[in-house]
């Protein structure tokens, strides 16, 4: 498969001037020029093929946006190799810009004071979008994202959700080879989020757009992407398919039972012993609630049977750890987290 982008030992560090506390300190800062280096991205490597749908996640300050800005040519890397569509982003920025689409969820990409329609018209000229392509992408965006009633409104009068829909449409009008979407669903309500995801998926299907999405909403990833990059403090913690991610980190599933009446201590002990033989651990047994957790895949039927035989069960749920839980756990458990 053709390579869309390739990154090797990519690093970026910023210089921050040292600050002294207080007003007096701020005044001192006027005359001292001590700087401190801050490493935002510490040498990451990965490749993305054409047509892949990749999610980039990580906590605030993990280096997601910095990575995206280097890939789009907005900032130059401090060191490392970097190639997007065969181009060197910060050197061949304009050429690259013609073939990529960019959304920064935190900042509007559209001209503030003019109606959406005018902005689209300007973008059509700017990206030299052929009329037949524009015809499709424009219509699709208007239909899928309900833009019709917004087209005549100046961007500054749009709500966040409306603006985001327009922004997204604007960034995909030229059916780019790669779309870099930085938090495309930030601050949106559930319906709009769903609409946005559907649109992205649709554009991906139609034009084979390669997607790189950063987000804090893992549903964006599970519903749109099939590969995950996990950044943490500037290093790449995981790179692989969603399945592999679950396999690597989601090694625990649970059976949660609602008992008709609380189990006695001795019954609980016996149950625990039998469960243990089949790889289950009774972790919670307070009152009516009973939790059995296990690690081996395919243990659920046996463990459930044992439970049903030993106890009167009113209700039963099987819980698989979802990606969101895993990610939260990774963030929380990380060694060296300060």
């Amino acid at each position: 498969m053709e390579n869309a982008l390739h990154v090797e030992n990519l690093a970026k560090s910023y210089k921050r001037s040292m600050r002294h506390p207080g007003l007096l300190g701020a005044f001192k800062g006027l005359f001292s020029s001590k700087t401190q280096e801050f490493q935002a991205v510490k040498g990451i490597s990965f490749s993305i093929n054409r047509g892949e749908r990749v999610g980039l996640i990580g906590e605030n300050g993990a280096g997601k946006s910095t990575t995206l800005k280097m890939l789009t040519g907005i900032i130059a890397p401090t060191s490392g190799k970097l190639e997007v569509l065969g181009l060197l982003p910060w050197k061949q920025r304009r050429e690259l810009a013609l073939n990529i689409g960019v959304v920064f969820g935190q900042r509007p990409q559209l001209l503030w004071d003019i109606p959406v329609r005018e902005t689209f018209r300007l973008l059509k000229a700017m990206y030299r979008i052929p009329s037949d392509v524009y015809e499709v992408t424009y219509k699709e965006a208007v239909r899928r994202l309900d833009l019709e009633p917004l087209l005549g409104t100046p961007v500054r009068l749009l709500s966040l959700g409306q603006r985001m829909r327009c922004d997204l449409a604007a960034s995909l009008l030229h059916a780019p080879a790669i779309a870099f979407l930085d938090e495309p669903t930030i601050g949106l309500d559930l319906t709009v989020k769903e609409q946005v995801r559907e649109y992205i998926r649709d554009m991906q299907d139609k034009f084979g757009v390669t997607l790189l999405i950063t987000t804090h909403d893992l549903k964006d990833i599970t519903e749109v992407c099939d590969r995950l990059l996990l950044l943490d403090k500037g290093t790449l913690l995981f790179d692989g398919s969603l399945k592999a991610f679950e396999k690597k980190f989601a090694n625990e599933s649970r059976i949660v039972a609602d008992l008709e009446r609380p189990a006695t201590a001795s019954a609980l002990r016996k149950l625990s012993a039998e469960m243990k033989k089949h790889g289950g651990i009774v972790t919670g047994g307070e009152g009516h609630k009973l939790i059995v957790s296990y690690r081996k895949e395919g243990s659920a039927p046996v463990l459930t049977q044992i439970l049903l035989k030993r106890q009167k069960v009113a209700d039963l749920t099987l819980e698989k750890t979802d990606i969101e839980t895993i990610v939260t756990r990774i963030y929380r458990k990380k060694p060296g987290k300060n």
Partner: protein, 260 residues
């Protein structure tokens, strides 16, 4: 050609946005007219004391005055966005611009026209042509005047670009330092010969704001340099403007955006 069309579309779209704010437009035009007129009044005071200034008559000075106002007006009309650059750098707002497949400097320059400029532009044109008429200037001069204003506009804008590019290195949320080229331009309302030699050198060679009207005017009044030198200013302004792009690119290399 396509590129020119795109820039025109960008300019007219941005201009359209500006008309959204009507009151701002009228107040702005009024203010810039008043500023020009108040400067004119101080000039009038000078001329009640002396019949000429360093050998320049009232009409001749008014020509310089008008041409500076006209060049300033043109720059504000087409290229005023440059004043926002220091703020954009601090806020990380250049990101959007840098995702567009266009020359970032030129596209930035033309996408925020300042309508107040009509005040300066109109005052400038009226004063210049009034002076030409009273000086019995040859017809050729009437036709060349817009060209000289255009080159003045390019020179001044190039100066602004140079100073704005410094903001990439010395980040500060103000455009105070852009007042330096602005004040230098205003200094050239008077014939440069009234200044000490060092200042003359600065205004004619180093930051040649003084040249686009001083040289042509000198030629008109037979005070020395000829037509050739006046036209050379046109070419020089184009080169100067083009070169200011180097400073911009030097600055962009250091652009760090902001977090998130």
């Amino acid at each position: 050609m396509k590129t020119l069309k795109l820039y025109w579309l960008a300019f007219s779209t941005a201009l359209q946005a500006k008309f959204e704010y009507r009151v701002d437009f009228f107040l702005g035009v009024l203010t810039s007219c008043m500023l020009q007129l108040s400067a004119l009044v101080s000039l009038w005071v000078i001329f009640t004391q002396t019949p000429n200034l360093n050998g320049w008559s009232k009409e001749e000075i008014i020509l310089l005055f008008g041409m500076v106002a006209g060049a300033l007006g043109l720059s504000e009309l087409f290229f005023n966005h440059i004043w926002m650059v220091p703020f954009y750098i601090v806020m990380g707002e250049l990101d959007r611009l840098l995702t567009y497949p266009v020359n970032s400097l030129y596209f930035l320059l033309i996408t925020r026209p300042e309508l107040h400029s009509f005040g300066n532009l109109v005052t400038g044109l009226v004063l210049s042509y009034w002076a030409l008429y009273h000086l019995n200037a040859p017809l050729l001069y009437y036709f060349l005047l817009p060209l000289f204003l255009f080159s003045g506009c390019l020179l001044y804008t190039a100066g602004l670009v140079l100073f704005a590019s410094l903001s990439f290195r010395f980040i500060a949320p103000t455009s105070m330092h852009l007042m330096i080229p602005h004040n230098l331009l205003n200094a050239t309302r008077y014939p440069v010969t009234i200044y000490p030699a060092a200042v003359q050198w600065i205004l004619l060679i180093l930051v040649p704001f003084g040249s686009f009207h001083y040289l042509p005017a000198s030629w008109l009044f037979g005070k020395e340099p000829g037509l050739g030198l006046a036209l050379a200013v046109l070419a020089a302004s184009l080169v100067f403007f083009w070169e200011s792009g180097w400073f911009w690119r030097w600055g962009l290399k250091q652009y760090e955006s902001t977090g998130s």
